[in-house]
């Protein structure tokens, strides 16, 4: 029975991850960047699940589970921080938020 090569899953994961990076690099909006991070996390999750399939073990999925949980927590805190930043700086453009420098 012909199936999908495993490598395709992984390459899809890599492509999504690269898209995430691209979003992080080229978007200048804090929230979009944050979403790009989520995208990267999802790309990694896909790898985990794919490997879980490859080795026939559930551990990869457990990891995915943890990543989701942490991502949820992160999203909560991160968005709260974005809120706080917006309240003080009145902007979401990261290039304007650069006071932590030399």
């Amino acid at each position: 029975m012909a199936g999908v090569p495993l490598a395709w899953y992984l390459i899809l994961s890599a492509i999504l991850f690269a898209l995430g990076i691209a979003g992080f690099l080229f978007r200048r909006n804090l929230i979009t960047m944050f979403m790009s991070i989520e995208l990267m996390l999802n790309a990694v999750n896909l790898s985990f699940v794919a490997f879980s399939y490859k080795f026939g073990r559930v551990d990869g999925q457990i990891f995915t589970f943890f990543v989701m949980v942490v991502a949820a927590a992160e999203a909560a805190v991160g968005l709260a921080i974005i809120l706080a930043v917006f309240r003080t700086r009145k902007t979401l453009a990261v290039d304007e938020i650069d006071s932590l420098k030399y």
């Binding site: 990076i21 690099l25 960047m33 290039d95 938020i97 650069d98």
Partner: protein
């Protein structure tokens, strides 16, 4: 048998310690009693020791232990007495005692009384150590120590800048001499492995002549550098005239009678070295003669009474150096002894004059004092005839012996020496005539000094007159090598005649025809100015040595080298590091997206690296 030689210097040292620690809290009477008492005891102990040790054919050595020991080198604390030392001990303690007594009167109204006597006692300690030392190191201890005391006492009036400057000058010029002395010591350690007289001298004797010539000549010349410093010879004599800033008893004791003769003593003491270095001996004799002449000419023109006698001292020291330089060690020491008498007398006498005039030292403001200060006048004339070499007074015997030995060495040395003798007579009597004859040219009321000052004058006058009959050269015969050759008695008359002529000229210039001297001086013009300004030696030294060294140190070494180059390099390294940091910190731009790019860059490299290394397989 121990004679407890150490007591001789230790007694004055005890006096120094007592006066130094307690002097400020006790009365003047206690201070000078302690000071004079210790010196007197020391003098008595010298007499006792010498009478016990006579006839002292060979040296009596006492060892008290080791001072410095390192590996095979050992430097002992050893005192020794032989006939040479005996003479020196008597001169130092004897003249020292007289001058201590004199100081009671002279210093009566000065501040820092205890300090003065403490320093004098300290000087006695070091001088006696110098004389008693049985090795060069201990001699050097005394040598440096007397230099210290000289410094302290020249700068005694430390509120006067000129006095402290003179003190510094004395110490530093002496240090230059000591530099030579110490190098000589190091060379001796290297060559002979010891500094003991008892080891060095026999070793020299045993050395083959060819081997000895170079190194022994070097040692002797270096020792002589030391002597030129301490005994004020060309080119290091410049400190001695300035040293007259000190109180007059100091000038008499340290800068006339004892300390400055240490160089002569040292050369005489190390005759076994010098006799093996004829070249060095010639240098010594020539320098001595030259110094005698040059200093005497300067002495003719000075108006400060103490300066006249200071240059006279330099000149007379030149004679002594000439004496030891031509191999007449006994004669040199003999002149040292007689000079101690008459020069101490000259200084104490001039001190008495200065005391009488409440501090006036300029001959042009004196005159006619023989009526006011008769004792001083008479004793000074005694000293004058002694130094002028008028027979049968002390200077005649000792000086003539040196001159005859010089003639035996090189006739031209005799003639220059004799000429100098004439000049000597002239300037001494010039001073005496200016001071005591004619009209009184100053202000204030001159008065005769107290007995504590005049009695020492009288004692010294007696010694100056009769000192020539002391059998010093004969007594020293066993110590020194015999001088061959016979006296040419005709020459005696020449020098005596020159001396008398000098007195005559002085009398003609300053008593019979006052004013003539000024006209002669004016007619000589530039030559007179040259001599009057002491051949500009101080100025030349200042311009050629002091200023370049100080200025060079300040600008070149400190500002340019230290602050500029070295610190520049150091700070430059620091600065470049900072610049690099400033450059690199631009990466820390605060822009998150830039950071992300760097992270990505790093990750790419890491992944490529891992891939290449096969880490992912």
């Amino acid at each position: 048998m121990m004679e407890q030689l150490w007591l001789i210097p230790a007694l004055p040292l005890a006096g120094f310690v007592v006066n130094g620690v307690l002097g400020r809290r006790v009365s003047k009477a206690v201070v000078h009693t302690v000071a004079i008492g210790t010196v007197a005891l020391s003098f008595l102990w010298v007499l006792k020791t010498l009478s016990a040790l006579m006839p002292l054919e060979t040296a009596h050595v006492e060892r008290y232990g080791t001072w410095i020991a390192s590996g095979s080198l050992e430097f002992a604390l050893e005192f020794a007495v032989d006939r040479l030392t005996a003479v020196m001990l008597l001169v130092v303690t004897g003249v020292g005692l007289v001058i201590h007594i004199y100081s009671v009167g002279y210093m009566a109204h000065e501040g820092g009384y205890y300090r003065f006597f403490a320093f004098l006692n300290l000087f006695m300690f070091f001088m006696l150590t110098l004389v008693l030392a049985n090795n060069f190191l201990l001699l050097f201890v005394g040598w440096e120590g007397v230099g210290l005391c000289s410094y302290l006492l020249i700068g005694f009036y430390f509120l006067r800048r000129s006095a402290t400057t003179a003190g510094n000058k004395a110490f530093i010029v002496n240090r230059i001499g000591d530099f030579g002395f110490s190098l000589a010591m190091f060379l001796m350690v290297v060559t002979f492995g010891s500094l003991d007289f008892a080891k060095v001298f026999p070793a020299v004797e045993k050395m083959p002549v060819e081997a000895a010539a170079g190194v022994v000549t070097a040692i002797c010349l270096l020792l002589f550098v030391g002597a030129t410093g301490k005994s004020a010879q060309i080119p290091l004599y410049v400190w001695l005239p300035d040293a007259m800033e000190g109180p007059t008893p100091v000038s008499a004791l340290i800068h006339a009678a004892t300390m400055v003769t240490a160089g002569v003593y040292m050369i005489a003491r190390s005759w076994p070295l010098f006799t093996h270095a004829p070249l060095a001996m010639d240098v010594v004799a020539t320098i001595g003669l030259l110094t005698a002449l040059v200093a005497a000419t300067i002495g003719m023109t000075q108006f400060d009474i103490k300066k006249v006698f200071a240059y006279s001292t330099v000149s007379q020291l030149g004679y002594m150096i000439l004496g030891v330089g031509v191999g007449a060690f006994g004669a040199g020491i003999f002149h040292l002894v007689t000079h101690a008498f008459f020069k101490a007398l000259l200084f104490l006498g001039s001190g008495s004059v200065i005391h009488a005039l409440s501090g006036e030292q300029d001959l042009r403001k004196m005159g006619g004092l023989r009526k006011h200060t008769p004792i001083t006048f008479v004793t000074l004339v005694c000293a004058g005839v002694a130094i002028a070499g008028v027979p049968p007074f002390s200077g005649f015997f000792s000086k003539d012996e040196i001159l005859l030995a010089a003639h035996h060495h090189h006739p031209w040395m005799y003639w220059i020496g004799a000429l100098t003798a004439g000049i000597t007579a002239f300037y001494v009597f010039r001073a005496i005539f200016l001071c005591f004859f004619g009209e009184y040219r100053g202000e204030g009321r001159p008065h005769e000094s107290p007995p504590s000052m005049t009695i020492p004058l009288i004692v010294l006058a007696a010694l100056s007159l009769g000192g020539g009959f002391l059998p010093v050269p004969h007594f020293l015969d066993p110590v020194f090598p015999a001088m061959e050759g016979q006296h040419e008695s005709a020459l005696v008359f020449v020098s005596v005649a020159l001396g008398l002529a000098g007195i005559g000229v002085a009398a003609w210039f300053y008593v019979l025809r006052p004013g003539l001297a000024d006209r002669v001086a004016a007619s000589l013009g530039g030559l007179y100015r040259l001599v009057y300004n002491k051949y500009f030696v101080d100025e030349i030294y200042w311009a050629a040595v002091v200023r370049p060294v100080v200025g060079g140190s300040r600008t070149l070494l400190w500002r340019v080298m230290d602050a500029g180059v070295i610190d520049g390099i150091v700070n430059g390294i620091g600065g470049r590091a900072r610049d690099a940091g400033r450059l690199v910190r631009l990466l820390q731009s605060g822009n998150i997206r830039s950071y992300a790019t760097w992270v990505l860059l790093g990750s790419v490299f890491a992944i490529i690296g891992m891939g290449l290394a096969g880490g992912l397989r």
